[in-house]
């Protein structure tokens, strides 16, 4: 069987898997961004308890492996009365894991905004919320976009692990196809190529485009 026949025969399954992977990617990316923003801001709070809470979350999720977190959320959390469907458990674990890495980027991005900007906002008596939202965050956002681009690639790769709790994503379909056809090079190789195309031709160019748009908006182009 030639590779094209293999591809024609299995294209629908790869497509199904790719759609699930894309869904997992967007859901976990959204969660990671929200969590990173929250934890990153909490880490800079003046209240020690708030700082400590965020710090604990970040250290736990950065100090252990995503796979452990995923299994813990899927197998152990039900013992505490919180049962998540595998699809939800998958993107929640990925989102929380990458969110912990993102939180450090948010903190670094905010700290890289020059002190004069804070002082200027204070001088024109902006409220703290407005200062953060109108002055600091937009500049911090621009500063941290390049590392977030890398993080998005890491996140895409991380979604492959959800196949291990039987979410039917691209990785899962590749394993199934391998099991039924025994053509491992084709089965896994095709999945590798699809991940690569998604990362290199969609995620990375999008992040670059976002960097350019933001730089122009901030007058730094």
């Amino acid at each position: 069987m030639s590779y094209w026949e293999f591809l024609a025969q299995n294209a629908p399954r790869y497509l199904d898997g790719t759609l699930v992977t894309i869904a997992q990617f967007f859901l976990s990316a959204t969660l990671a961004i929200l969590v990173a923003l929250t934890a990153g801001l909490m880490k800079m709070s003046r209240n020690a308890a708030v700082r400590w809470t965020a710090g604990t979350y970040i250290e736990i999720f950065r100090g252990t492996s995503l796979l452990i977190q995923l299994y813990w959320i899927f197998f152990v959390l039900p013992l505490f009365g919180l049962t998540l469907d595998k699809f939800y458990a998958g993107f929640v674990a990925v989102g929380l894991n990458l969110g912990a890495y993102g939180a450090e980027l948010v903190r670094g991005g905010i700290q890289s905004v020059p002190k004069g900007q804070w002082e200027a906002a204070y001088a024109i008596s902006m409220s703290p919320a407005k200062r953060m939202y109108r002055i600091i965050l937009p500049q911090a956002f621009l500063n941290m976009l390049p590392p977030w681009g890398n993080l998005m690639i890491e996140l895409l790769k991380a979604t492959a692990l959800v196949s291990l709790i039987s979410v039917t994503d691209l990785m899962f379909e590749a394993k199934q196809i391998n099991g039924s056809t025994f053509l491992s090079a084709q089965a896994f190789g095709t999945a590798l190529i699809i991940y690569y195309i998604f990362a290199r031709l969609i995620v990375t160019p999008f992040m670059r485009w976002l960097e350019r748009v933001m730089a122009r908006k901030m007058g730094r182009a």
């Binding site: 796979l67 452990i68 690639i153 790769k157 491992s184 896994f188 190789g189 590798l192």
Partner: protein, 222 residues
């Protein structure tokens, strides 16, 4: 229901200690492969040939932007299709070593780029051979700024070893899966594996931060 059983936890602890040694061995061997192969990738991108540079660059990008777990499956299952049987350990070490060599080559690249141009010119002026230029002049200077990044990836590779359990390497995650499956208790094994990972990776990350600060000071970087 929340019912942590200490007797069960202590009963399974010895198995985890054995598995922990395997995890550390896997991280160590994988890292050894990555350190050497990463240097090869980094140097291959500096040859005069543009084609070699582009091909190696694209290979590094490919490895970096596809999931490690898929690469582990690929290496493990593709061999037998062509008559090469790899044990889980060998396949796992190749996959994880290759994956991290792509990351380390980027670290080396940054280090090599940080060596001032004058050093290269001085080597040319002294008529040093390419080998001598690299091994006696450039790499010794490129290495110190790369060390912090290398340390981060050492912790990174340690945290990625649980993925080796998918092909049956007997490391911590595999031990936890086995215990969980045979006793129908998942609370203790998975929680203990998490704690073991925290207990190793947090101090290691702390040490690397201290080392990085020391290195920056020593190099006069701040």
């Amino acid at each position: 229901m929340f019912d942590w059983r200490w007797d069960f936890a202590f009963e399974i602890l010895p198995r985890f200690l054995q598995a922990m040694l395997n995890t550390l061995a896997a991280a160590g061997v994988g890292y050894g492969i990555a350190v050497v192969l990463g240097l090869v990738f980094a140097l291959a991108q500096r040859t005069p040939s543009r084609i070699v540079t582009i091909v190696v660059r694209e290979c590094v990008e490919f490895i970096r932007s596809t999931p490690l777990v898929l690469q582990i499956f690929f290496v493990f299952f593709v061999g037998p299709q062509f008559g090469i049987r790899l044990s889980p350990w060998v396949a796992g070490m190749i996959a994880i070593g290759l994956h991290y060599s792509a990351y380390l080559s980027e670290v080396y690249r940054g280090g090599l780029d940080s060596v001032p141009k004058g050093q290269w010119e001085a080597c040319t002026a002294l008529n040093l051979s390419t080998t001598k230029t690299y091994f006696r002049v450039i790499i010794p200077q490129a290495l110190p700024p790369s060390l912090a990044g290398m340390g981060n990836y050492l912790v990174g590779i340690f945290k990625d070893t649980p993925m080796l359990s998918v092909i049956g390497v007997a490391e911590l995650m595999q031990a936890a899966n086995g215990i969980g499956g045979s006793h129908y208790r998942y609370l203790e094994p998975y929680t203990m594996v998490g704690i073991i990972f925290l207990a190793i990776s947090l101090p290691a990350a702390g040490l690397i931060r201290v080392f990085e600060a020391w290195m920056r000071k020593k190099l006069g970087m701040n």
